[in-house]
Symmetry: C2
Amino acid sequence: MDMETLTIQEASSLTGLSAHTLRYYERVGLLEPVTRNAGGHRRYIQADLEKIKFLNCLRATGMPIRRIQEFASLVPQGRATLDAKLDLLESHKRDLQTHIQELEHMLIVIDKKIQQFRQAT
Amino acid sequence: MDMETLTIQEASSLTGLSAHTLRYYERVGLLEPVTRNAGGHRRYIQADLEKIKFLNCLRATGMPIRRIQEFASLVPQGRATLDAKLDLLESHKRDLQTHIQELEHMLIVIDKKIQQFRQAT
DNA sequence: CCTTGACTTAGAGCGTACTCGAAGATTTAT
DNA sequence: ATAAATCTTCGAGTACGCTCTAAGTCAAGG
């Protein structure tokens, strides 16, 4: 077992995404092709894990696959697409802040309902 | 036009759910059957709107349809199922609080990424 | 009365994001 | 060397929550 590289199973357990999902993300272009060993098997490095965790963060905050594909297509172009990447992330950040506020509001509504039920005892 | 009751379109625009979705919610048991007029058309009253808005609140905070069905099945039984309803809502409230915290954490991660991109200019 | 538009049901279809299966190659452990 | 586990690709299948269609009925204005 290599110290530097990780199998897909190892990458899976370190990121919380299934091996199936890791392959799927690569297939649909969310992740640049991971380097392979002599036998064609994926070998993940730390940088891959970081990228995957960030992807996971975008997904878990509700960014659609389509939008992440857009972002992912900008990444390999480096500095040339810096503004585009910033725009995309800042826009997502605003959406997320709005979403969190909505959830906080609805938490209050749910809590009021709970209080109603408690007082109905 | 009646003052007391609302057509499905009116209920739709007041709740933000499509007429299709309102019928769907009723069909799958999220909502008790709405009273009909002589011709069999749905006529919503204020109390229906309140229920729909609360359903919407549960949905928008991520409660699965299955779970809302469970909740909805307890509602018509009144006081007898009060504890069960409280348990369900309190459990959802905890899930939601956890979820909001996760989102807030990820917001920070995304913001750090934005800072990285800004400094890379 | 008649037209136009909204309503009814039941069931099929769709978009999203995975998730799984099959057939076969490769790696690892004994 | 060989068995068992893991990997590969690629296409099909699944779960969820709607969303739409079809065929027909009903309601409101002129």
